[in-house]
């Protein structure tokens, strides 16, 4: 098998890239570890921010269905339940399919769109059953329709924490509160407003000290922290809960990038180590592209735009798209990306992205 473009990850960025590239006649193969495509879009039951171009106001899972439909219409080949475990110097993509052993495909271009992983924080008892990542809880609720807990405590008041609190309440759980180490809510005020109106408290300057219960979580001990982040003696409080959701940020799922020898750079605002790439999303390893959260943790709509950008760049490189037209399309996408990175929340990310591109040109 020799594919013009192999995409690793069938999430928002991977699918967007696949759709865009195959629109111009690129032969695409999309590989995903999960049994269903769409990535984290199917965990998202809230409506997305952005503009019309980014399907703003449409719920995440609906965007997922739309992308899948489009991919299907384009006849894009999908390889599901397949884990890519290596990219070799000759652009061989090695994967394993459950127990069916190993296989590989040769690619002319590769797009790594593996998304992000959840970070965790450590406290006594954090390994107990009942402590789980926010994404884990979302997956349980929205994909398998199982409630991960009846009384939930959320750790982290970033967007993910706020959203997951809202979603747990929607699914019928009793959310006892959202706690945040920093002195103010990290996520959007509007998300915080939603859960406050439901009567769910948000406790800033507080953190979790211990997950209580044996063998599974039956409660938590939380504590206030001072300005230095140190626990305030005597402010400990034990609360009953059977689910502790960790929503303490995401980091790029960068293992494939590291192992295939792409130059990486640590970027705090993008979640961790990110692959250095140019304006067309190509990394320091020629013909290997990145898009989406793996290239810096951002929103789903930026991921989709980055995917489109990479798809067009690859179509152009394969001479399926005239330079003039491609450059025009790329400029439009870059403008939209620029817009998505405006404002207090996007500023840092925009700067970090700019720096990555600068590093690449060196």
């Amino acid at each position: 098998m020799n594919n013009e473009l192999v995409i690793i990850g069938a999430g928002p960025s991977g699918l967007s890239a696949a759709i865009e590239a195959s629109r111009y006649g690129v032969k695409v193969l999309v590989i995903d570890e999960n049994d269903r495509p769409g990535g984290q879009l199917f965990l998202q039951t809230h409506k997305f921010f952005g503009s019309r171009h980014h399907s703003a106001g449409v719920r995440g899972f609906q965007i997922g269905y739309n992308l899948l439909k489009e991919a299907e219409d384009q006849g894009i080949e999908l390889l599901l339940g397949t884990t890519v475990w290596g990219i070799f110097p000759d652009l061989k993509v090695a994967f394993s399919r459950n127990t069916n052993g190993n296989d590989s495909v040769d690619a002319k271009n590769i797009l790594i769109a593996t998304g992000a992983l959840e970070k965790a924080i450590f406290f006594k008892g954090w390994t107990k059953p009942g402590v789980m990542g926010a994404g884990a809880a979302q997956n349980m609720m929205h994909v398998y329709w199982v409630l991960p807990g009846e009384k939930a405590l959320i750790v982290g008041a970033g967007n993910v924490g706020l959203i997951v609190a809202y979603q747990l309440a929607q699914a019928g759980a009793d959310v006892i509160g959202v706690i945040e180490m920093l002195p103010r809510v990290q996520g959007y005020q509007v998300h915080a407003g939603k859960i406050r109106r439901l009567g769910i408290p948000i406790l800033t300057s507080s953190t979790i000290q211990e997950a209580l219960g044996d063998p599974a979580v039956e409660g938590a001990r939380i504590v206030r922290v001072d300005e230095q982040g140190k626990p305030v003696q005597g402010s400990e409080l034990e609360v009953a809960c059977d689910l502790i959701c960790l929503a303490v940020g995401l980091k790029p799922f960068d293992e494939l990038c590291w192992s295939s020898g792409i130059d990486m750079k640590y970027m705090e605002s993008l979640g961790g180590y990110v692959p250095i790439h140019n304006e067309s999303m190509e990394t320091t390893k020629p013909s290997v592209y990145v898009a989406g959260d793996v290239a810096g943790v951002e929103e789903a709509n930026t991921a989709m735009e980055e995917g489109r950008l990479a798809g067009i760049a690859i179509a152009q490189k394969l001479e399926k798209l005239p330079d003039k037209e491609a450059d025009q399309l790329k400029t439009e996408i870059r403008q939209r990306l620029e817009h998505l990175r405006l404002g207090t929340f996007g500023e840092e990310r925009a700067k970090a992205k700019e720096m990555l591109v600068k590093l690449n040109s060196k």
């Binding site: 049994d35 059953p129 789980m132 884990a136 809880a137 997956n139 398998y144 199982v146 991960p148 019928g172």
Partner: protein
């Protein structure tokens, strides 16, 4: 609250304000540590276990600590169990099958078929 009453002891979400919960999924039965547990075709072992209130999947080798679902996407391997005689199977990304035998793990478990 109404959702909770409808749910009973099962942790299944029966209705959701946003999602359409399918009512006609095919029921299967898996055997967990000798007991029958209801599950639906197309779901993972982990979600079937959570739905019936089973949260502890294994105990660790050194400190005998309980472990259950943590990342729910196949990364952390906290949720591994013995499935059809094979130890260390990730239950969060393994789909149920009717009659599947699932067992809790102690430490790294044992290979039964090794000594057959």
């Amino acid at each position: 609250m109404k959702q909770k009453e409808a749910r009973g002891i099962e942790m299944r979400i029966l209705e959701h304000p946003i999602l359409d919960i399918s009512k006609d999924r095919k029921k299967v039965t898996i055997i967990v540590d000798g007991k029958n547990v209801d599950a639906f075709e197309g779901e993972t072992i982990a979600s079937a276990l959570y739905a019936s209130g089973i949260k502890v999947h294994r105990t660790t080798a050194k400190f005998k600590e309980p472990r259950g679902v943590f990342c729910n996407k196949g990364r952390c391997t906290d949720c591994i169990m013995k499935v059809d005689g094979c130890p260390n199977v990730r239950t969060c990304n393994t789909m149920v099958r009717d009659g599947m035998i699932v067992e809790s793990l102690e430490g790294r478990g044992e290979w039964e078929h090794l000594y057959e």
